[in-house]
Chain length 381, copies 2
């Protein structure tokens, strides 16, 4: 199995599966290639804790790009629409329309087959007009549009509309451009509960994190949830959960502890390096990204993680014990894949557009980012 991979991708002679290739991993060739990868900014994931079904101490680990190659599905003519991913973004209100678009279109540009947005009626025509590629459902409501006596029935209607579709989705992205309207957030809380009941993974970002930080019970113990906080969102989460301040000196240990305290959800802490933990393992992705901090990059990341989480889940279900990856948590693998592709795309966009780089430029670079790591013309691993 390993030899096949080695032959199929000449960039990967150092790839190894902990169970059967320690000799190869210890070879001079392996060490030299690994050094080159480090020198050119590739990330090495670190496993700090071992646990059931996760990486074991002493294993030689895959880097982020290896994981992308492993979980990205092969393309062939026999596949049909939906098999490469059906993603839904819950977000978009009167005030914010760009964020849900960025998340949803990123999912498509990475390779999902279908991408939906569930937003308010006001936001819908605008989001639709950004791109005919998205399926936009104008179903959410904000308080200004709803009388108190109608709230119950309207909540039911919103949920019925979402439920019609829910089982078809491989992952929900909750939060981009959601806003903080209390009635809308109540509806979204119910959507999260329904998704959880149906075992549908969720990626929570932006105002979704505001909601979840105030209602931790929505995600506590749900191992198919990924939270993607930026600096400020992380600070609020740490204060709420750990009742302490952010510890930058030992950031990985704090992310690990935080994830454990929320019952094994996966946290992707965005920063100079992205730190990812499910409370069991902790990994970092430090592929060189972009020094531009234009708004919207978090939305790309959330859509990207959603796709890779779906693919990782498919990969793990299909490969079972034959998986070449020691890590069996699709939320962690999806976070690593999403982070790697996003950072690489940002780097490509910045090299072309420099200070003028905007979020749409990064989205246009997602395809090249994935193609550079995992060419579509060949099975990747």
């Amino acid at each position: 199995m390993l030899m096949k991979h080695v032959i199929m991708n000449s960039q990967l002679p150092f790839l190894c599966c902990a169970n059967n290739c320690m000799l190869l991993a210890s070879s001079p060739l392996f060490r030299r290639q690994r050094f080159l990868i480090r020198s050119f900014g590739g990330s090495i994931d670190h496993c700090r804790n071992s646990g059931s079904g996760k990486m074991q101490s002493g294993q030689v680990l895959f880097d982020a790009e290896d994981i992308v190659r492993a979980i990205t599905p092969a393309l062939d003519q026999s596949r049909h629409k939906g098999q490469a991913g059906n993603i839904a973004v819950i977000g978009g209100c009167r005030e914010y329309t760009g964020a849900p678009y960025f998340a949803a279109i990123s999912a498509l540009k990475i390779g999902a087959d279908l991408s939906h947005v569930f937003c308010t009626k006001d936001a819908s025509p605008v989001i639709k007009s950004y791109s005919p590629e998205l399926i936009v459902h104008p179903v959410l409501e904000e308080s200004y549009n709803v009388r108190d006596e109608d709230k119950k029935i309207i909540t039911s209607k919103v949920l019925a509309e979402v439920d019609k579709w829910l089982e078809r989705f491989d992952c929900l992205v909750i939060g981009p451009g959601l806003g903080r309207d209390p009635f809308l957030l109540d509806c979204v809380s119910e959507i999260i509960r329904h998704a959880r009941q149906s075992n549908i993974p969720i990626v929570v970002d932006g105002d979704g994190l505001f909601l979840v930080t105030n209602h931790l019970e929505l995600v506590r113990g749900y191992d198919l949830a990924v939270l993607t906080p930026n600096v400020n969102e992380y600070k609020r989460l740490v204060q709420k959960v750990l009742n302490s301040e952010v510890n930058d000196k030992d950031a990985t240990q704090q992310v690990l502890f935080l994830a454990k305290q929320i019952g094994g959800v996966t946290i992707l802490k965005k920063g100079k390096s992205d730190i990812i933990s499910d409370g069991d393992t902790v990994k970092s992705v430090s592929i060189y990204g972009s020094p531009r901090r234009c708004g919207g990059q978090g939305d790309i990341l959330s859509g990207s993680v959603a796709v890779f989480l779906s693919w990782a889940r498919q990969y793990i279900e299909a490969s079972g014990q034959d998986s070449i990856l020691s890590c069996k948590n699709p939320a962690v693998l999806g976070s690593i894949g999403g982070s790697a592709i996003m950072r690489k795309a940002a780097s490509i966009a910045f090299s072309n557009k420099k200070r003028s780089t905007v979020t749409s430029d990064i989205i246009e670079s997602l395809g090249k980012s994935l193609e550079d790591i995992c060419p579509a013309g060949s099975s990747c691993l």
Copy 2:
């Protein structure tokens, strides 16, 4: 006549008309070129049944690209607006706006002169915003906007609006983004009846297939109707019409039988190879397409088939007994042409954009797809 074609298009020395060129078809040059076409993924159409006005057993057959070349009209300065096709898409509702846009813009990009969309009032501004090229009529209504007591008069108004234009259209595409609102579908049933009375061809896809599968009388026996089911739509059609399950082992025979049972409508079953039958002949188009299964490709196909069906009808009417094509059914020829152009465009788009390919990329490749087969600078056949 044949020699003229041979001289005009150096790619086609092997072209043959069953009535007058069997010697040429049997030449070593013909066989070698045919072999090369097969080797590079060109499709060979198979005639399984012969019948009145259709291909005869033992004939040397044209491949899909030959048919495109035969039916694509010559371009010259003396032609005027509308002669290359005036297409209308019936679809677009509050929920779906991308699909009718994809179908309508594809018709234009292939070479139709005019492309209309008849959609709901909510969908209209969004579809208009996608492109100034389309003529968008906000005439359809959904139930939520109509009181029961007004339904009759509103149906009459909708039909009057469509009827004003109907005679000008060369083909209707019914279904992309139509939705499943019962009142809207009732109106569309009437539009189909009117189109049929006026002998205007129809291509039925998406939610139009949902309607037609439940009301087979709308298309039964109408030989200018093309149904373009995907895997799931085909399954429902087979269950409804044949009261059986899909037979993948002898797919061509089942499509043939299904088309016959619906009275000679043409069925274009989408899949790894597209299978096309009018209940009399059965053909397949297997030009290499794309392994990407992003949503919206079916909409391109429906717009594409509409254009080629119009052109095939013009070609057959103009050439009469001089037609170089044995097949005289414009619905079948249009399905072959539409399928060939769509698949080739998908292949071109994928070669450029890989996993990042979205439907708009394929639409942008339609022109090159047609140009590669049938250069605009010369008469094609």
